[in-house]
């Protein structure tokens, strides 16, 4: 039992363990203290000073987010003078800020904006000292607008500590201090892996995805184009909360309905492609087990992780599955299989995907992702962008009647849907690998040990007597830790204790993706994950190989998992990348 400390906040007594901050103690009492730079998932930086509170006996106010409580402390969280002080800080921030909320991507989700409202600051009535700086638009996935940065430092902690990519850091001092990449080369010329976690944690519009909304609207409104859309698993567990529903509510039917309403010609589902990925990947795993490796096999569906691997662990590339991500498998099929089946000219197809992910924007534009003869996926929107489109169109999402997806590539199983949560790909693959090896389904398909929000999870799976050790890591810091261990094992003994490893770049998996709503904390990510597992349980088919649409695509087009045409369309290869610039240096695996 930790040592307890008793203190008084606004006259109310509270007892908390030693080491608790004033902010946490106040939260326990349900007392609100405004914060700005603080985020519950991250180490506090103490940068903004908004959370100041008065402590009896202290000459100056203290920062609630980082000051530990002491015995008998008497804290006042709200007073005229504190309010003035907080207001003053917001005014300082706004004087150095490009205020254009209505057209800002963070509008209504912006913590600076909501604090300004809370404190009654007139955002436009302030004199400006802002010196406009150019935007960083070098990246395919992420845009940085320094004119909206409040230097809270969250992105730096996220990139350096959570993701261990270290693409960005503080540069210069004083008023000139800002967040920047190595030598100001821009994110597009850096080691940034496009995971987008910085955009989720950024409290303002300073870090966002590079928007493709306009291009998508243009395509929809172009009568000559046939616009096909796919949506990632995580979307259905996230959209609801952006329209006033409980976090974790799964709204698959509303999601299809809204896309139809927005004018997409055909609404399919990435979950179908997730099932396909499982067929290919489970087959790859079985082949590797049968043919003596190389093992472990590591999943490849998270493009942030792929670029990370190419940059920091190119030596283990041969362990990474050759399977494309579901998005790219879908893209390759949309302009081949679907075009053929529906009799549509593939050159007229515009393939749009909606992803919880910013790295998918980058992935779609990798030069090798053109196996259909066209760019396989044309535009990638994040969850945030779709939400903006829905709001722009003025659609009442919450009350929308449910609809179905279009059939050919819209049908999916529970295995496909849990792709969106950490552990899900592993669980889905085990279900099908078991079937491929034994010819029958597992008695209990739930693999609960690999679920949940813990950073690195391990389990031993028994496939009819064959014992397989598996591991799951989410968040690149955890991935780095796990892979460093694996690399060491491989170097020392030539093999690893693990046979199968799942890695997702984003903490929580895609439900915590870099394209998800701003401010998503670990707790909320976990609830979305639970939503997906709930949907899995409710579905008629829970194993990818049972999906009738999957059976059909193999029958009609792909022959069988691992076939030549499957390899051509559904598999890929990797590069080694420069650690500083992220440029591809050479191929480290090859397409067969």
């Amino acid at each position: 039992m930790a040592e307890m400390v008793k203190l008084y906040i606004d006259g109310k007594e509270v007892e908390v363990p030693k080491g608790t901050t004033i902010l946490e103690a106040a939260q326990k009492l349900g007392i609100y203290i405004p914060t700005l730079c603080y985020h519950p998932d991250l180490r506090p930086t103490g940068a903004c000073g908004i959370c100041v509170v008065e402590v009896e006996g202290a000459p100056t106010p203290k920062r609630a987010c980082c000051t530990p409580v002491t015995e008998g402390m008497k804290v006042t969280t709200n007073s005229k003078s504190l309010r003035e002080l907080r207001k003053g800080i917001i005014e300082l921030l706004l004087s150095d800020h490009h205020v254009d909320c209505p057209s800002c991507p963070a509008n209504e989700k912006c913590e600076l904006q909501s604090l300004a409202n809370y404190l009654g600051v007139d955002m436009n009535a302030l004199p400006k000292i802002l010196e406009r700086k150019p935007l960083d638009e070098t990246s395919i996935a992420i845009v940085r607008d320094p004119n909206k940065c409040i230097l809270c430092g969250r992105c730096i902690i996220v990139c350096n500590e959570l993701q261990t990519v270290s693409a960005i850091t503080y540069t210069n001092r004083g008023f000139e201090a800002h967040v920047d990449t190595f030598f100001s080369m821009g994110l597009g010329n850096s080691s940034c892996v496009n995971c987008g976690q910085c955009t989720v944690y950024c409290p303002t519009g300073a870090l966002t995805e590079k928007s493709e909304i306009d291009m998508v609207w243009d395509a929809i409104l172009d009568p000559d184009k046939h616009v096909v859309v796919q949506e990632a698993p995580a979307l259905r567990a996230t959209l609801g909360e952006e329209f006033g529903m409980e976090p974790g509510t799964v709204t698959t039917g509303k999601m299809y309905a809204v896309l139809k309403k927005l004018g997409f010609d055909v609404v399919f589902d990435t979950n179908f492609a997730a099932d396909l990925t499982i067929m290919e990947e489970a087959n790859e795993f079985v082949q590797r087990v049968k043919n003596g490796g190389p093992l472990p096999l590591i999943t490849s569906c998270s493009p942030g992780w792929i670029k990370f691997m190419e940059t920091f662990f190119p030596d283990i590339a041969k362990h990474v599955s050759t399977c494309k991500s579901p998005q790219q498998m879908f893209g390759a099929l949309a302009k081949t299989y679907y075009a053929k089946e529906a009799g549509v000219d593939p050159s007229k197809i515009v393939s749009v995907s909606i992803m919880p992910c910013t790295a998918k924007k980058y992935e779609a534009r990798r030069p090798e992702m053109r196996d259909s003869g066209y760019q396989d996926v044309d535009y990638v929107l994040t969850t945030r962008e779709l939400v903006r489109m829905i709001k722009e169109a003025g659609i009442d999402y919450k009350n929308l009647p449910e609809e179905e997806a279009d059939e050919l590539m819209g049908m999916y199983t529970g295995a496909g849907t849990i792709f969106g949560a950490t552990g899900g790909v592993m669980e889905a693959a085990v279900r099908t690998a078991y079937w491929m090896i034994t010819g029958r389904n597992m008695e209990k398909v739930d693999l609960k040990v690999v679920r949940g929000i813990e950073g690195i999870k391990e389990a031993e799976v028994d496939i009819d007597g064959l014992k397989v050790k598996v591991a799951v890591a989410h968040g690149l810091g955890n991935a780095r830790e796990l892979l460093t261990k694996v690399r060491k094992q491989l170097e020392e003994t030539g093999e690893s204790e693990y046979a199968f490893i799942e890695i997702m770049a984003c903490p929580g998996g895609c439900v915590g993706g870099g394209g998800q709503p701003k401010g998503s904390d670990f707790a909320r990510r976990a609830r979305r994950g639970e939503g997906l597992y709930k949907e899995d349980k409710s579905l008629r088919y829970r194993c990818s190989h049972e999906n009738p649409a999957i059976k059909r695509v193999y029958e009609k087009f792909l022959e069988k998992p691992g076939s030549e045409i499957a390899h051509k369309l559904l598999h890929t290869y990797y590069f080694k990348r420069n650690i500083v610039s992220g440029e591809a240096i050479e191929e480290v695996t090859h397409k067969h």
Binding site: A47, G49, L85, I89, R173, G174
Partner: protein, 535 residues
């Protein structure tokens, strides 16, 4: 140690080097050699002698005679007349003998300077460990290692009442005790020799004039708290200080005073020098630690304090140079002896850098509690060129502007507090009637604007807002409300900045505007022509 008849100290610092100190030194050596005096007279380089604006400065011991504006061609005359015939060269001597650090006696003054910290500076050859030993150096270390327990060393320092000379005045013995008692086997001692305050060079005089005293102070601290490793974080520009300190460390190793099993007592200690990163805020102890760890020099949140979570999260003492340089005398002579100097709650002496429009700008060491008026008018010689006193900025850039009516303040930690002032870096900048307070405040704000590390909002943007406002006032475009706005912004910076840098700007801003409001108000008038800021 060879006995020499006379020492000639050549002050070598950036200023005197520009004025030709190296040429003068070469010439001295040549002239002395050519007269066969090399065995009798020794030429030494010393750091600054605490005199500025006087070209190349020499001092000849044992007489303690100063020469100013010495040119190489003056050298034969000095050697011939003074060193050979014993007749000082009047026309090159400083006109009035100033009272300053390196001068051992005082002339015609009511109060004597008391030398504890600077007792050897400018007297012994700082590059010769034997000279330090000859004047009683390392006796305190020997005493502590052979006859005192670490706790007893701490107790003695506590009893002495020594408080930190780096600005805040925290009781040194207590800091050591916290660190000793903190959990963990690995502990560190860091000497803060960053001295980033413009115009201040008191620590440098110790580093260059008596490096072994500092080392001894650090060794005593290490012994007391149980540290095996120490760092001296020296401002990067202090090339000579770094060189001297390195020589002193190397010699100490040779003499078995550093390294394993010091003096056969089982106590082991290593010291390493680290060059400062060049930012003012790196003098703040937690930013200094970050910088030592190879990170960007930005302050850390306190608590936890360095005494429990310092360098590499281990318990660490960070002490100023001057603080540590007090310790050997305390241990050698005892706390009771030390307490005879200074006031009840601020014991001992304090080294000040007197700058600006005084007759004798330079360094002095006087007892704590000496009135500011005395420091300026006796030791500093008053205002030069018959001008009138206007204001003194006490405590460095983050200090307060005091007008004449407040000059009787006794300079110690607690008295100054009543004037909402601090000893700070020990810098006293004296301004005569020609100084423009608006201009002065402008340069202070600009300094802070440049030195803010940029980490926290109140300081990063607050300094910029203040800069805009003071510029406006300076141009005659301000309004009276701008003055109040400046006070308001600096007040909110005091309340909500992350570290003491941003918190302390209130002192100069408020004291300047409140004590010299009339002058600020005059500047608001577009028609007003200030002779002093050339507006």
């Amino acid at each position: 140690m060879k006995l020499q008849r006379a020492h000639v100290l050549v002050s070598v610092d950036p200023e005197t080097v520009m004025a030709g100190a190296k040429e003068v030194e070469e010439r001295l050596i040549k002239e002395i050699e050519s007269r066969g005096l090399s065995d009798e007279i020794k030429v030494l380089e010393t750091g600054t002698l605490g005199i500025s604006g006087k070209g190349v400065v020499l001092v000849v011991y044992p007489e303690g005679i100063y020469y100013e504006n010495v040119k190489p061609d003056d050298v034969p005359k000095i050697v011939e007349e003074h060193l050979l015939k014993g007749r000082p060269v009047k026309e090159l001597m400083l006109p009035e003998l100033p009272v300053r650090a390196v001068k051992r006696e005082t002339v015609g003054l009511t109060r004597k300077q008391v030398r504890i910290v600077l007792e050897n500076a400018g007297v012994i050859d700082p590059e010769n460990i034997e000279e330090y030993i000859a004047v009683g150096g390392y006796e305190a270390l020997e005493k502590a290692l052979t006859s005192m327990k670490p706790e007893e060393v701490i107790e003695e320092v506590k009893k002495s009442g020594l408080r930190g000379r780096g600005g805040a005045g925290f009781p040194t013995g207590l800091k050591w005790e916290f660190t000793r008692k903190a959990e963990g086997d690995i502990k560190y001692v860091i000497c803060n020799a960053d001295e980033g305050e413009p115009g201040t060079f008191k620590d440098r005089l110790i580093l260059e004039g008596d490096p072994h005293k500092l080392l001894e102070g650090m060794m005593l601290c290490a012994y007391a708290i149980g540290a095996r490793k120490g760092y001296i974080y020296i401002r990067g520009e202090y090339a000579l200080s770094i060189k001297r300190m390195q020589k002193a460390i190397d010699d100490a190793y040779k003499y078995g005073l550093l390294g394993e099993d010091i003096l056969g007592t089982g106590f082991s200690f290593d010291i390493e020098i680290k060059k400062g990163a060049g930012a003012y805020v790196c003098g703040e102890e937690t930013a200094l630690i970050e910088s030592l760890e190879g990170k960007r020099g930005q302050p850390r949140f306190k608590p936890p304090y360095p005494v429990t979570h310092g360098l590499w999260q281990k318990p660490t003492v960070v002490n100023n140079v001057e603080t540590l340089a007090n310790v050997p005398s305390i241990i050698k002579n005892g706390a009771e002896w030390y307490k005879k100097f200074g006031t009840e709650k601020s014991t001992g002496t304090k080294v000040y850098t007197i700058l600006g429009h005084v007759k004798y700008p330079g360094l002095i060491e006087v007892e704590m509690g000496t009135p500011l008026r005395e420091i300026i008018f006796s030791y500093g010689g008053g205002i030069k060129n018959g001008k009138k006193f206007k204001a003194a900025l006490v405590g460095g850039a983050a200090g307060v502007f005091l007008p004449d009516r407040l000059l009787d303040v006794k300079m110690d930690f607690d008295n100054l507090k009543e004037y909402k002032a601090v000893l700070g870096s020990g810098a006293i900048l004296v301004m005569n009637e020609d100084a423009c307070m608006v201009d002065m405040l402008f340069s202070i704000i600009r300094f802070f604007y440049h030195e803010s590390c940029g980490k926290c909002t109140p300081c990063r943007i607050g300094t910029r807002e203040l800069l805009e406002l003071i510029k406006k006032v300076r141009k005659g475009e301000g309004e009276e409300s701008d003055l109040d706005k400046m006070i308001k912004i600096s007040e909110s910076m005091w309340k909500s900045s992350f570290c003491p840098l941003g918190q302390s700007l209130i002192m100069p801003v408020k004291s300047a505007i409140e004590n010299f409001r009339e002058e600020f108000v005059k500047h608001l008038d577009k028609e007003f022509h200030c002779e002093n800021c050339r507006r």
